[in-house]
């Protein structure tokens, strides 16, 4: 098929609202994300291993939804989401230590919709919000349409640095930010988990400065090792909690949920009605039926085991192939490892070369609102490639990085580098 070099323009360019100019899109990133040579091993996307979800179980759940609940499944439903599904969510939440009632929950189209709705109800242009830096790209995208000023708080191996947070809040003053957005478990992209002490400190600060906390917890149930950490919402009922079925069931159903204090939930509901009236009852009933049995627990165990093996494969391969100058986080669950290289190494500039070598990743700048910070970092997703592919992909990536590091070492050997560049930094 000829003609794929053709470009189709946007004839309506110049007529869009100003806020769309703030929504970051990177033609370079899109291009490389689209690089779909079959021999490329991708560490770029955080896609769940959906082949492990038994098709027959989903098929019967979906069939039941139409056969036994057809008049509801194919009709408009309530904006809050079906009581039965919210009941199932109440139980899921209880298992991780969060007490919630059905009335505290709204079902959303993935947690992603909740991010958009929360930004819509809280943000005027120029409002300040606080996130971890780096943070989830999709959250930055959802927020940016409402034109906030984003302050990033760095992380270490215990998660968000609450000393830095305290300093930022002190400078902003009470109610100086509209909300604090955090992913405490196996952070995307950082791979780190917030310690119990930091969780308490974060909540204290939020209370002191009277700023809502949004806890995004897509990966919490995908823990490979270490003990369960109590969600922020379990420690403080003012926390806005976002959950999703995407990682414990399937992203294709587009089901997530938000738990929030009643007044906030009321505003989310209004925004949700304006956005889509109600979610898909068909998808909700399918999920209800799937979670009605006990098989989902074995599936989740199996998924967690598979992801754990892939994490191990990636960490082992990094240890074996990656140079001494590289540092990376060791996630106890979730999908991602965050790698940091010496400051001068521009991993965005390196991406075309990596693709030529048959491996791809997301350069760290995508996870910062300024689009500049983090260029010496990369996010590696271990969730989707098989352990063998992961080992091969890391080997290829190491070759590409090694070539650049030869230069770095030549400077080091000559004693030409300042001490600040040779000192080891804390990852993430």
């Amino acid at each position: 098929m000829m003609g794929t070099a053709r470009i189709v323009f946007d004839r309506w360019d110049g007529r869009y609202a100003q806020r769309m100019g703030d929504v970051r899109s990177s033609a370079t990133r899109d291009l490389f994300a689209a690089a779909s040579r079959s021999d490329i091993i991708s560490f770029a996307g955080g896609m769940p291993e959906i082949s492990r979800v038994p098709a027959d179980a989903v098929a019967s759940a979906a069939a039941e939804a139409i056969r036994d609940f057809g008049s509801e499944a194919l009709q408009y439903g309530s904006s809050e989401g079906r009581p039965q599904l919210r009941g199932a969510i109440v139980e899921l939440m209880a298992e991780i230590g969060v007490r919630a009632r059905q009335e505290d929950i709204i079902v959303t189209a993935g947690a992603q919709q909740a991010l958009d709705l929360l930004a819509k109800i809280f943000l005027d242009p120029g409002d300040v919000i606080i996130t971890e830096g780096p943070t989830y790209l999709g959250a930055l995208q959802a927020f940016s349409a409402y034109q906030p000023r984003v302050i990033c708080v760095p992380m270490d191996e215990q998660g968000m640095d609450t000393d830095v947070l305290a300093a930022e809040l002190a400078a902003l003053g009470p109610r100086g930010a509209k909300f604090i957005y955090t992913i405490p478990n196996f952070q995307n992209p950082g791979g780190v988990t917030m310690s119990a002490g930091r969780r308490r400190k974060l909540l204290e600060l939020a209370r002191e400065y009277d700023i809502p906390v949004i806890e995004d917890d897509p990966y919490g149930r995908l823990r490979f090792d270490g003990g369960h950490m109590r969600p922020l919402r379990a420690l403080d009922e003012d926390v806005i909690y976002l959950g999703t079925f995407s990682k414990i069931f399937a992203p294709g159903l587009r089901l997530g949920w938000v738990i929030a204090p009643r007044p906030i939930l009321g505003k989310v509901l209004l925004a949700k009605q304006a956005a889509d009236l109600c979610g898909s009852a068909y998808a909700q009933i399918t999920a209800e039926r799937y979670f009605a049995g006990t098989r989902w627990r074995r599936v989740l165990q199996d998924l967690t085991r598979v992801y754990g093996e892939r994490r191990d494969a990636m960490l082992e391969a990094l240890e074996e192939h990656f140079p001494a100058e590289a540092e990376w986080t060791v996630p106890e669950g979730g999908f991602f490892v965050w790698v940091r290289m010496p400051a001068f190494l521009d991993l965005k500039a390196l991406l075309p070369e990596a693709i030529e070598h048959g491996v791809t990743y997301v350069a760290g700048d995508a996870f910062f609102p300024d689009g500049r910070t983090g260029r010496n970092c990369m996010r590696l997703a271990f969730c989707y490639a098989t352990p063998d592919a992961i080992r091969e992909g890391i080997r290829r990536l190491a070759e590409v990085v090694e070539d650049r590091l030869e230069l770095y070492r030549a400077f080091q050997v000559a004693g030409a580098l300042p001490d600040t560049m040779t000192a080891r930094e804390v990852p993430a």
Binding site: M2, T4, A5, I7, V8, F9, A27, T28, L407, V413
Partner: protein, 316 residues
């Protein structure tokens, strides 16, 4: 119906996004002028598409590697498709600043003192042990480090102290195989475009850039509001005439045709220094060539159409 023109844009260079913006504006302008426009990205399908579509000419709206270094020009000549802008040799000479600066200085065109380093000189020859000699070689601090082969000021760092030099070099070498270290000239930054629309090359009014950040880097170049522009530049008549003379000399020396944009800086004592020559100047909303053309009454559409006609009519 007028001729068919392929507008080449995008590509895998780091300046892809800028090129797409340039390309879209060029394609719109040519469409408005009644041409059949074929907007093309540089992918592995480019050559087959050019062969099957057989455009009458190609408008090169590519920036950076492959678009500005002679690669695409060579391909188009091989396919027998006339194109806009300088040819293979001029593109290659202008693209590599370590070569063009040498040509400037050999031809009495003032250019800031510089040294060039390839990555291989560091890796294979221990050149990092000689960094202490660099400041004196270029006349002291501050100095600027940039990739020898990159447009749009990507990988550019201003260095004010010896301990910053190594990191700046490593940064610049992330973007290409060689880097130059150049004396920083404090002064008025200018872009001087040379345009030949069939009556011989004419120098357009110099455009003065004042970056609010103090450094005219990638972000200042392409973010509206981050830079103030003055057209014509605020120069004395003597300096302006010298600047114009130098732009013309660079254009001719490198063998450019149709268009080029010569970037300069005028030092406090009034001496202009040539920094580089761009053979595929940006055509975005904030680009300098369209700004300069506009100042002499050549609107964007006319500029684009006339450049396309130069290619279509086979004029050098």
């Amino acid at each position: 119906m007028k001729e068919k023109i392929a507008v080449l844009m995008g590509g895998r260079s780091l300046e892809r996004e800028v090129s797409l913006r340039s390309g879209q504006r060029v394609a719109d302008a040519l469409t408005d002028s009644g041409y059949r426009v074929l907007p093309l990205d540089v992918t592995s399908e480019l050559v087959p598409t050019l062969r099957s579509e057989r455009p009458d000419a190609a408008y090169i709206a590519l920036h950076g590697k492959y678009g500005e270094d002679g690669t695409i020009q060579e391909v188009l000549e091989f396919l027998g498709i006339p194109y806009t802008g300088p040819g293979v040799v001029a593109s290659a000479l202008a693209w590599d600043k370590s070569v063009s600066k040498r040509l400037f200085s050999e031809n009495s065109i003032p250019t800031p003192a510089w040294v060039t380093f390839t990555a291989d000189a560091f890796k294979e020859m221990g050149a990092a042990t000689a960094l202490d000699l660099v400041p004196d070689a270029v006349g002291g601090f501050p100095l600027v480090v940039k990739p020898a082969e990159q447009g749009s000021a990507l990988g550019l760092t201003r260095v004010t102290a010896a301990e910053e030099l190594a990191e700046a070099l490593l940064g610049a070498l992330s973007f290409g195989p060689s880097a130059i270290v150049e004396r920083w000239i404090d002064g008025i930054e200018l872009a001087v475009s040379v345009l030949d629309l069939g009556d011989g090359p004419q120098v357009l009014p110099p455009v003065e850039m004042v970056a609010k950040s103090g450094l005219f880097d990638f972000s200042a170049m392409y973010t509206p509001g981050e830079t103030d522009y003055y057209v014509p530049a605020r120069l004395t008549p003597e300096v302006e005439s010298e600047v114009r003379r130098l732009a013309m000399e660079v254009h001719t020396l490198l063998g450019c045709r149709h268009v080029s944009r010569v970037d300069m800086v005028v030092a406090a004592d009034g001496t202009p220094y040539v920094l580089e020559c761009n053979t595929s100047p940006g055509m975005t909303e904030t680009s300098l060539l369209p700004m300069a053309a506009d100042a002499v009454g050549i609107g964007f559409q006319e500029l684009v159409e006339k450049l396309a006609r130069m290619a279509l009519d086979g004029l050098d």
